[in-house]
Point group: C2
DNA sequence: CTAATTGTTCGACGCTGATTGAACATACTC
DNA sequence: GAGTATGTTCAATCAGCGTCGAACAATTAG
């Protein structure tokens, strides 16, 4: 029925996002208090938006765990995801997240033990 | 043997402190990603240094858990403790912690869902 | 159509962390 | 001295999180 030409056929259901404004401080801190996710965020911060697919990150975990970590970051308002074909691309929600938690991403991205 | 007149006879052994400089980012985030500890930090930030004893905080946990939370904050370089008589007083390590993790305490103390 | 790629979901496992109650240690008070 | 107040430590419990392997879904390539 040609609804609206299906914006973009997804990998599966479109990932459900949470805006940083709706994220509790403890949730944001907990999301970033993990070495794997920290690495994801840092690599993401060093890349252009929508440039990196989920599988393109250098982290020492399997696919299942990776998927879980991205879900956590999504729920914490840290990343946004968009499906392109069979790949899922990512973007760091810098401006939104920075307005909700000023300085937090800077701290994470620029910390010495990167 | 009059060593040095025992600086200050402690509740027990003097609490072992960790300087913020020796704290990993993930450890700092994890320490603050807890509602009880968040509350301790906030109340502490609103009080004068060495003014609050451990038992003077309004948190919904028993003494054992409280003691544990303070130990976590100590290990994360967030608080400093000093024994006075049978009481243990606290101080937020603002300057040191701010130098190591700029903006983090501000974020925690000034967050909306306080 | 078949096969390969990308990522999610499920069940299970192990580990860490928060909590409690009880026992203990120290210091103050009477 | 005995009794009280303040915290710590221990053992046990319980919930949650990170991880994996396997099964599944959707898309693309041949």
């Amino acid at each position: 029925m040609a609804e609206t030409a299906a914006t973009r056929p997804s990998h599966r259901a479109a990932p459900s996002h949470t805006h940083p404004d709706e994220v509790a401080l403890t949730a944001a801190l907990a999301a970033l208090a993990d070495p794997v996710r920290l690495r994801l965020v840092r690599e993401l911060a060093a890349s252009d938006e929508w440039e990196r697919t989920c599988g393109s990150f250098d982290v020492p975990v399997g696919k299942a765990a990776l998927s879980h970590h991205f879900a956590v970051l999504r729920d914490a308002g840290v990343v946004e995801q968009r499906d392109i074909g069979r790949k899922r691309t990512n973007r760091l929600r810098r401006p939104e997240f920075d307005r909700r938690f000023p300085g937090l991403l800077d701290l994470v991205v620029n910390d010495r033990d990167g």
